[in-house]
Amino acid sequence: MKYLKIVRLTVSITVFCLFLWLFLALVPVNTKLANVLTYLQVTPAYIRWAAGIGSGLIGLLVVTGLTLLAGRVYCSSLCPLGTMQDVAIKLKSQKSKIKNKYKKPLNWLRFGIPLLALLAYHFGRKAEPLMVLDPYTEFGRITTEIIKPAAAFVVNAVSYALGQAGISAVRPVTMHFQDPGIVIISAVMLALLLGTAFFRGRLFCNTLCPVGGFLGALSYLSVFKLAMDGDKCNSCGLCGRLCKAECIDTQAKKLDFSKCVSCYNCVNICNRGAISYKTRFFRKKEVNTERRETIKAIFGTAAAAVIYLSFIPKAFAEGAASLIPVIKKNPVIVPPGAGSIQRFREMCTGCGLCVTACPSKVLTPQVHNKRGIIEQFQPAMDYQHSYCSFNCVICSQVCPTGAIKEITVEEKHIKAVGEAKYIKENCVVVTNGKPCVVCDEHCPTKAIMLVRYKNGLQIPYVREHLCIGCGACEKTCPAAPNKAIYVEGHQKHKTAEKPKSIGVKWEETRDFPF
C-alpha cells in the first residue's frame, strides 16, 4: 500500500500548483482550467446544486462517493487549502522538534460548524459561515489578496527590466484595487492557518473546516477505512508523530478515521505494515462510544443552530434600508450574470476567482458602502477604479458556485446591472466652461448622447433604455471630488435595448476632397 502516498503527493501537488496558477492569473485566466479545477470543490458544488444547477450534484456525488469509499481523500488530495497547510507541516517535520500526538477532537465544533453552515444556507440562504470558513474560498481569497500582489510585484519588475532591453516576453500583471480591510483579514487568516499547521498540523481541518467536518462525519460510514492491526503494531510511535491530523493514538493502538485526512504518511512509515485499509464489513462488532458521542454532538449543535437561525434577521431583503447612503441609493452593483443582488448575496462565497480573472479589474471585494464585514468578501463592481469591459464575460465563465451565471457576450450587451445618472451641476462642462464629455467617448452603447449647452458646448444626456450600467462614464468622469455621472445599481438586473446605428452619410467619390 506504499504507493498510496505517492499517488496522493502527485495529485495534491498537481492540483495545488494548478490552483495557484489559476488564482495568480499571471496570464489571462483559462476558463476551462477554472471549470475543471473547481468542479470537485465541495462548497461551490453544493451551492450550485442548491440553486438547481445540474453540474453541482455530480461534483458533490463524486466527492461524497470517494469519502464513502475510502475516507477524506478530498482533504489531502483535492483541497488547495489542505496542501497549503501541508507546506508549513513539511517545514516543521524537517526542522522542528515539535511532534504530533493524539488529541481528542472537539466534536461539537467540528460537526457543529458544517451543520450550522448547512442549516444556515439551506433554510436561510445565509452564505456567511461558508464565506469565512470554506477551505476553497479561503485559499482563493488568500492567494488573490496576499500571494498575488507579491507575485505581481516580482513579475512587473521583471517585465519592466526586460522591456528596457527590448524584450516583451513577460507581460505585466494588473492588480485589482485592494481594500485594506480584506487584505488584513486575509493576512491574519493566512498567518493563523500556517501557524496552526506548523504547531498542530491539520487542526483547522478537524475543528473549523465545514467541509472537513462534513466529510469526517461521512467517513464513519466509509467502506474502506485505515485501521491499525494491534497484533502487528509494537507501539513504536512513529506513525503518531507523523500524523498531521493527530488521529493516531499509538498507546491505545487506535486510529480515529473520521479525523484522518488520508495523507498515508503512517502507512508509508510503518515498518511492520500495521496500518492499512480494511473493509468495515469484516470487522468485529464493538460498541463505538465515540460514534455515540458524535451523534450526541450533532443533535446538540443542530438544536443550537435552530436557535441561532431563529434569532438572525431574515435573509437580505431587496432594497433594504441598510443599503441606502446619501447619494447612491444602491451602491452595490453585481456583475451581469448575477441576475440580482439577492441571488448573488446568497450564492457567492467570495473565493475571488472572478476578481483575479477580471481583465479590467472592476470586480473587487470592497468596503466603500456600508455592508456587513463578511459581505465585503463578496466582490462587487468598483467603478471608482475601473469599469466593466463591454465584450468580456469571463467572470460568468469561471464562477464556481453559479453566483455569476454563465452568459454570452450578446446577452451581456443588453444586460443592465444599473443605470447612469447625470448631475449637471457637477459636470466640468458647466463648472469649467470647456468641452469634455469623456463619458460619451467611453459609453459602449451610446446611452449617453450629447445635447447642446451654451456657447457651442455640449453636455451629456442619458437615454436610460440603452444604459447597461457598465460604469465607464462614472470611472472616467474627471469631475472632483464628486462625479457628475454615476451608476445607480439595479436590485434586479434589467434588459436594455440594443443601440441602433444611424447609418453612414458618406459617398465614395473619385477625387480626394482636397
Binding site: T174, S360, E441, Q458, T476, F514
Partner: protein
Amino acid sequence: MNRREFIKTAFNLSVLTGAAIAVGKTPLMAVTGKSTVPPLPELVAIKGGEPGAMFEVAIKAIGGMGRFVKKGQTVLVKPNIGWDVAPEFGADTNPDLVYAVIKSAYAAGAKRVSVFDHTCDSWEECYKNSGIEAAVRSAGGVIVPGSRKEYYKEVTVPGGVSLKKAMAHELLINSDVFINVPVLKSHGSAGITAGMKNLMGTVWDRGSWHATDLHQRIADFAAYRKPDLVIVDAYRVMMSHGPKGIQSLADVAMMRTLLLSRDLVAAEAAAVKLFGQEPAQVKYLRLAAEKGLGKIDLSKVRIQRIEL
C-alpha cells in the same frame, strides 16, 4: 565663440553645403537644392487598396522609409489601440497597416521598433482584440505596456498654454524616430479624431486634459515632440458613434485611404476634409496651426494624390 570664429564656421558650413548639393543626388538634398528632380510631396494621399499595399506605394512616394529611419535607430510606432473593439469596426488603427509600418522600419535598418498605447479600455483586451498585439509580434516588433506608471516620466511642454508639464511615456521621450499612426474616426466632442488626439495615448495623466481644457492641451502637447512621420489610417472610418462606437458595421465607411506626411497639422487637416468637415472648425487643429506646428491651409501644401 567670438564673432570671427562664428563667421568662419558659418562660411565653412556654407561651402560644405554647396559642395554637398553639387555632388549629392539624394532626394532630400534635391528638395533644397536646384535640381531637375521634382520636389518630394509634403503630403501623400492614397486610396483604393489594401492597407499594406497602399502603405508600400505611399512610403515610396514620400521618399522611402530610409528618409525617416536610419540604420541602428530605435523607432516608436504609435497606433491607436484605445478601445477593446474588433478591427472591422475601425475604432483602432488597422493591424495590417501597423504590421506593414513595422516591417518597413526594420527593412530600413531600425534596431528596434516598439509599439504601445495608454489605452482607454483595459489594456490587455485592447491589445488583444484590436489585433495589434499579434500584428506587432509577427512583424518582429516589441509590444510595450502603456498602462503602467513606471514607464512615464515628467517632461516640459515647450510653449504650453494650458499644459506646461506632462508625464510622457519613456518611448516617446527616448526613441530616435517617432511614427504616429492614428486612425481617423468620429468623435463626440472634438468632431473628429486622428493624429493629434492619438498623442493622448502617450501621456499618463490624460484624464486631467478633459477636466481642464481639452482642445488647448491637445494643441499644446503636439509641440512636445513632432512626429517624424504621420500615417493616418482612413481605411475603415467610423463615421458616427466614435471614438469607441457601438460595434456596428453600419457606422463604418470603407474609405480605403491613407495619408502620409511629416506635418501633423497638414495630415490632420486632410483627414478632416476626408471626413467632410472644414479644418478651421476643429478647435484643437486651429490652435495648433496658430502655434506654428504645421500648415492648416492645404492649398499651401505640396500634395501627391495616388489612386490604386
